[in-house]
Subunit: 115 residues, 2 copies
DNA sequence: ACAACTTATGAATAAGTATTCATATATTAA
DNA sequence: TTAATATATGAATACTTATTCATAAGTTGT
């Protein structure tokens, strides 16, 4: 016999869990942003931009991919508000959208481990 | 004419970026863990477990999926050290692996937004 | 050992996604 | 306007991944 009714405790936790569960939209939104970070090419792009903004050509050099592939990935990162861009003449300069993203990256680096 | 040599500045940043770039293994590791978080079913499971450990059956109820699907996802989360488990009789109780994961989730919730 | 219950797993299918090539769009200079 | 440079995009292919069904494996009580 348990020190308490385990079934009841878990039932209680299920209710708590369901109550704290974000809306489907919330889950999707959060999810989309984690997903955006969960791909090697995109994560590389983020590290490349951690030192400051770069134009596409230089990002391509830093991550060693094809121009079109990088461009597609940049779009995904921008659509997910992880990057922002500004045009400067012929070039488009990309940079990390805001400090929030930097905090996530930094936290992940410390807590998820990343040599 | 710019206030400084923009080309040179970007070249400098490329070098900085490349120098700060984690190893391929580091990228993969970090990436895998973001990827694990970047899927609705798995993110739901994490929220379900945020209140404490639950057995598989109750997780299934909380996330409204099939048992086998949930079990596959639990394995992925466990393989990525995001969840841990312990057996208690017939049941297997899952819980968030450590506080690091909680911090990531909390940070993401605040910074990536999640109503 | 057997039956009941709980969780895990393999194989197959379906859905999603990254990359590539070719090309389009945008900007600048001549 | 034309040429040159830089970036973006559409379509196709290859790859990855989530889910399902069926079933296996682990646990408990009889």
């Amino acid at each position: 016999m348990e020190e308490y009714c385990e079934e009841c405790e878990h039932e209680r936790r299920i209710k708590t869990a369901l109550a704290a569960m974000p809306s489907a939209d919330g889950i999707e939104e959060m999810c989309a942003r984690f997903k955006a970070l969960g791909e090697p090419s995109r994560l590389k792009i983020l590290f490349a931009l951690s030192a400051g903004e770069l134009c596409v050509e230089h990002i391509v050099q830093a991550v060693e991919g094809r121009q079109s592939a990088v461009s597609h990935q940049l779009k995904i990162l921008k659509d997910n508000k992880i990057l922002k861009s500004r045009r400067k003449g012929q070039k488009v300069l990309y940079s990390v959208a805001d400090d929030h993203v930097k905090v996530i990256l930094q936290t992940a680096k410390e807590h998820l481990g990343c040599e």
